[in-house]
Amino acid sequence: MKILILDGTEGTDEYTKTVNQTLNKTFKKNSSTVTNILFHEHKIHDCIGDFGCFFKTPGKCIFKDMAQEVPEHYIGSNLVVLITVLTFGGYSSLFARAFNRIAIQLISHLFMQAEGEIHRRKRYDQEYPSLLAIGIEETINQESRSVFKALVQRNAIHLFAPEHQCLFLTKDTKASDPTGIENQIEHVLSDLGGKHATTP
């Protein structure tokens, strides 16, 4: 199974490093192939909203950086894991900066109608990967979590994810050590239809 991790944390915090390391370890236990992309290691250009990815170079952002390369890994994966610091119930700016550019390359400029709404069509014929969004928080904030779940649900619709789940990792809880993190990851993966569970 192919896993893509998109880590939009700052990379300076021991806890978020532990989260990333534990995720990698958990997936590799089951012989999954993991592509781990740390946004803070790359210089990422802003989205300038020119729709070049629709009209000039369809499916590819005009800026040649990591965000232009990620879509290929995205479509080739079975599960995409998003890691962000929970920010006002949404993604952090570091995460959003890259994700804004990645996501739009995965969809067509054309529209479709689905469940009473207009959406963009998918660009690729393959089944798109499921989404696991990990929100890291300093302390538990139920309202923030509720907004994040709604955001991920909407993203899953727009990105044609067959399944999606959210996982909240809180720094000040007893489950903030690697074992606690691993247990929470295993639990949420089993909720993702069992397809992505690491326990054979």
Partner: protein, 197 residues
């Protein structure tokens, strides 16, 4: 009422801009957050601006609760697509101990095509009325009226969804042909799949 406009993309580029941003947010009575929808959320630079504001305002301030926040989000799709983004703005207001005075969701904003609302009087009369109602409410110290929320969320061109889809696709393909003629790209190129073709 006096007003100031800050474009966050240029403000965040330099230290003086950041200082001005923080200072103006600190001193205002009403903070309007106006943005296009990006993947169901705020664009990254507005998130960065809000993170900056929060970072520079740690600690408590008893007058913070008097500051009102209003969010105006617009999307090329229907108005309802903006709902989560408005909730994110509300979360920001709550974390800062500001008062969230409401959100306005504008759909089909691509129809504006960069024009001022007053240039498209007939199509945008509901939008303009909604904004006037909002400003009047602000002047009285009230929240965004329900009427304003209803008016701005109504489609600028009424019609069934399938019509929007057909018109939208026709417009998108027209855009593609225009740009592809300029750039010499084959019109079939629009269906390109750079990976896994």
């Amino acid at each position: 009422m006096d007003s100031d406009l800050i474009v966050v993309s240029s403000a965040l580029d330099h230290e003086a801009g950041v200082t001005e941003l923080v200072s103006k947010v600190d001193s205002c009575d009403v903070l309007f957050l106006i943005f296009p929808l990006y993947i169901d959320s705020l664009p990254y630079n507005l998130i960065e601006a809000l993170e900056t504001v929060k970072k520079h305002h740690s600690g408590t301030d008893s007058t913070r609760h008097e500051k009102k926040v209003i969010a105006i989000s617009h999307s090329g799709l229907e108005a309802n697509h903006n709902r989560v983004a408005i909730r994110i703005c509300e979360c920001f207001a709550k974390e800062m101990n500001y008062q969230f005075a409401g959100g306005l969701m504008l759909g089909n904003s691509a129809l504006l095509n960069g024009c001022a609302l007053t240039e498209l009087e007939r199509m945008t009369k509901q939008v303009q009325r909604a904004l006037r109602l909002t400003v009047d409410a602000m002047a009285m110290g009230d929240a965004v009226p329900e009427k304003a929320r209803e008016l701005i969320s109504k489609p600028m061109l009424p019609g069934p969804l399938w019509l929007y889809k057909i018109l939208g696709n026709w417009t998108m393909n027209l855009c593609f042909k225009k740009k592809s003629f300029d750039k010499g790209i084959n019109t079939l190129h629009r269906y390109v799949k750079p990976f896994f073709s």
